[in-house]
C-alpha cells in the first residue's frame, strides 16, 4: 500500500488511526503478557487497575447515573462548558501575554522590573493560586465561569510573553535600521516588521497555551465548586476509581480529546495566518532541489 496520491487529510487520518491501533495493541498486549507471566510491576494488569480498552469505550455509552443519559453525552456537555472557560482564559492570557511582550521589548526597564515576577508566577503551583482567585472573584461578584477563565489565563499568558519577546526581537538589525531610516514610528515598525516576524513564535506559544488553558480551566473548576464541567467529574470518578475505573479513563479520554481539539483549532489558525508564506517557501525549496 502506498500513501502517495492520497490527500493530505487522508494521510493524516491514516496516521492517527495507525497510532490508535498501536496504542490499543500495546495496552491489551501488556495486559495479556503481564497476566501470563504473573508480573505486577509497574502496573498490575488486572481489570481494576487497567480496564480493557473496550470497557473504557463501552463506559461512554452506558448511563453515568441510573436511568440517566450515557456518559459520553454527559462528558461531552461538560467538555463544552470547560472548553468555553478555557477559550475565554486563552483569549485573556494571550492578549495579556502579547502586550506584556510588547512592553518588555519596548522598555528594557520594564523587562528588568517585571520579567522576574512573570517567571516566578509560574513556579507557584496553580492549585495554590486557584482558591485565592476564586475568593477574590467572589468578592468582586464575578460570574463563576469568568473566575475559572482567569485561572486558565494564569497558565496561558506565560509562554506567550516569552515567545512574543523572542519573536519581536527576531528581525535582523538591518531591518530595524532600515525602518529607522524611513523615520518609521515605533508603532509602524511593530506592526509592519516585528509582529509579522514574531507570528511563528507566537503561534508556537499559543499551541502550548491552548493545552495549558484546558488544564487551567479543569483545575480552576475544583476550588470554584463548579458543577457541570470536566473538573468536578474527573474528581468524582477518581474517588470512584476502585469501583468503576473505566469511568475515569473514559473521562480522561474526553478531556484529552477536548484539549487536542483546541490545539487543533490554533493550528488551523496558524496555517491560515502565518504558515502560508513559510509553507510556500518550503515547497519552493523542495521543488528547486528536485527540478
Amino acid at each position: 500500500m502506498t500513501t502517495r496520491g492520497m490527500s493530505r487529510a487522508a494521510r493524516s487520518g491514516l496516521s492517527i488511526l495507525t497510532v490508535v491501533v498501536v496504542l490499543v495493541a500495546l495496552w491489551e498486549g501488556y495486559k495479556v503478557l503481564w497476566t501470563a507471566l504473573e508480573w505486577s510491576w509497574p502496573v498490575r494488569p488486572d481489570n481494576r487497575t487497567l480496564p480493557h480498552t473496550w470497557d473504557i469505550l463501552g463506559a461512554l455509552f452506558q448511563p453515568a447515573q441510573r436511568n440517566g443519559p450515557p456518559l459520553l453525552w454527559v462528558e461531552a456537555k461538560a467538555a463544552s462548558l470547560t472548553l468555553r472557560e478555557a477559550l475565554v482564559g486563552f483569549l485573556i492570557g494571550g492578549a495579556v501575554g502579547f502586550w506584556l511582550g510588547v512592553l518588555f521589548v519596548r522598555s528594557a526597564t520594564a523587562e528588568r522590573a517585571f520579567m522576574p515576577y512573570v517567571v516566578a508566577s509560574q513556579t507557584v503551583p496553580i492549585i495554590a493560586i486557584a482558591p485565592m482567585v476564586v475568593v477574590w472573584g467572589g468578592r468582586l461578584a464575578l460570574p463563576q465561569w469568568l473566575t475559572i477563565s482567569i485561572i486558565a489565563a494564569y497558565l496561558t499568558f506565560f509562554p506567550v510573553v516569552i515567545n512574543t519577546v523572542r519573536g519581536l526581537r527576531s528581525p535582523e538589525t538591518t531591518s530595524m535600521e532600515l525602518m529607522r531610516s524611513y523615520a518609521s514610528t515605533p508603532r509602524e515598525t511593530l506592526w509592519k516588521v516585528q509582529v509579522p516576524a514574531a507570528l511563528p513564535y507566537i503561534f508556537t506559544a499559543l499551541k502550548v497555551s491552548a493545552a495549558a488553558s484546558v488544564i487551567g480551566a479543569i483545575v480552576g473548576e475544583l476550588p470554584a465548586g463548579f458543577r457541570g464541567g470536566l473538573g468536578r467529574d474527573l474528581l468524582q470518578f477518581s474517588q470512584q476509581f476502585t469501583a468503576a475505573p473505566q469511568k475515569l479513563f473514559a473521562a480522561v479520554l474526553i478531556a484529552g480529546i477536548a484539549g487536542m481539539l483546541f490545539v487543533g483549532l490554533v493550528t488551523v489558525a496558524e496555517h491560515r495566518w502565518v504558515a502560508a508564506s513559510a509553507r510556500q517557501k518550503t515547497d519552493w525549496q523542495t521543488t528547486q532541489v528536485v527540478g
Binding site: T174, L178, S181, S277, W284
Partner: protein
C-alpha cells in the same frame, strides 16, 4: 556654489569608555557635492562603515560637525533624505517583491495606487518587473539586491548610502550590478556614498575615491577618478582605469605604512 550634500568637519567617533575605549574615527573632513559618487575604501577596521553610519544617522559622532543637506543627520533622516542598501538585502520574507518596494512608501503615507505605480516604475528600472509577485526567497542573491536598491530609491532620496552592497555576490553578478548602479545613478542623479573593499569596484563606479587608514580611522588620501562619465565593459580594459587602480593601491599602502610608524 551649490549646497553640499554632506559636509564633515573634524568628525570623530569613540566607542566605549575608560580602558575599553577605542577610537574608530578621528579628524574626518569631507565635502560631498550633489551628483557625486563617492567610494570609501580601506582595510577592515578603518571605520568606513562607521563613517557611513554616522552620515546616515544610524550612529552619532562623538566630536566634530556633520551636516547632510545643510541639516543635522537626525533631521535629514526625519526628512527621509536617505536611501540605504546593506550587504544583505534584508527583504521581508512575507511580502512579495512589489510589497517590499512599497514598504517605505507605506510608511511615508503614499496612497495605495501611487505606491503600486511607483513600485512598478522602480522594478522596471532594475529590470525586475516580471518578478513583482514573487517572494524574495524565490530570487537569486543578485536579484534580491536589485530589489533592495529599488526599495531604497523608491522615495527619491537625495542621498543613497551603500554599505558593501555587492560583498556577498559572485564576481560576474558583481560586475553586472556595478553597471546597473552606474545606470541608476545617471538616470536618477542621486548622490551616492559607497563603502567597498574592492579597489576595481571603487575606481569603476566613483567620481572620487576616499582612501581610509585604520587606528584611528581617518581619510588618508583622496583620488579623483577622471574616467569618462559613461563607463562600460571597455572601461575595464582602459589603461587609465588600470593606472587609477594602481594609484588607489599605492594610496592604501601608504596609509598602512603610516599607521605602522
Amino acid at each position: 556654489m551649490t549646497a553640499l550634500v554632506v559636509e564633515a568637519r573634524g568628525v570623530g567617533k569613540t566607542f566605549g569608555s575608560g580602558p575599553e575605549q577605542t577610537q574608530a574615527l578621528h579628524g574626518i573632513d569631507m565635502q560631498i557635492a550633489p551628483g557625486d559618487f563617492i567610494s570609501l575604501i580601506g582595510p577592515s577596521g578603518c571605520g568606513k562603515s562607521t563613517l557611513l553610519r554616522l552620515i546616515g544617522d544610524l550612529a552619532s559622532p562623538s566630536v566634530g560637525e556633520l551636516t547632510v543637506n545643510g541639516k543635522t543627520p537626525g533631521q535629514a533622516r526625519l526628512d527621509r533624505n536617505y536611501g540605504i542598501v546593506f550587504q544583505s538585502a534584508t527583504l521581508l520574507d512575507w511580502r512579495t517583491v512589489e510589497k517590499n518596494v512599497e514598504l517605505p512608501l507605506e510608511i511615508m503615507g503614499f496612497e495605495s495606487e501611487a505606491r503600486a505605480v511607483k513600485a512598478q516604475e522602480m522594478l522596471s528600472l532594475v529590470q525586475l518587473d516580471r518578478f513583482a509577485g514573487h517572494y524574495p526567497w524565490q530570487l537569486s542573491g543578485g536579484m534580491q539586491q536589485r530589489v533592495a536598491i529599488a526599495r531604497a530609491l523608491a522615495f527619491n532620496p537625495s542621498l543613497l548610502l551603500m554599505d558593501e552592497p555587492f560583498g556577498a555576490l559572485d564576481e560576474m553578478t558583481r560586475e553586472l550590478m556595478q553597471q546597473e548602479v552606474l545606470r541608476l545613478w545617471q538616470e536618477t542623479g542621486t548622490t551616492v556614498v559607497f563603502v567597498t573593499h574592492s579597489i576595481p569596484e571603487a575606481v569603476f563606479l566613483s567620481t572620487r575615491v576616499l582612501v581610509m587608514s585604520p587606528r584611528p580611522g581617518t581619510i588618508s588620501d583622496e583620488i579623483p577618478i577622471d574616467l569618462a562619465v559613461r563607463r562600460d565593459e571597455d572601461t575595464r580594459e582602459d589603461s587609465r582605469y588600470f593606472a587609477l587602480i594602481t594609484e588607489v593601491r599605492e594610496a592604501l599602502r601608504r596609509g598602512e605604512r603610516g599607521t605602522k610608524t
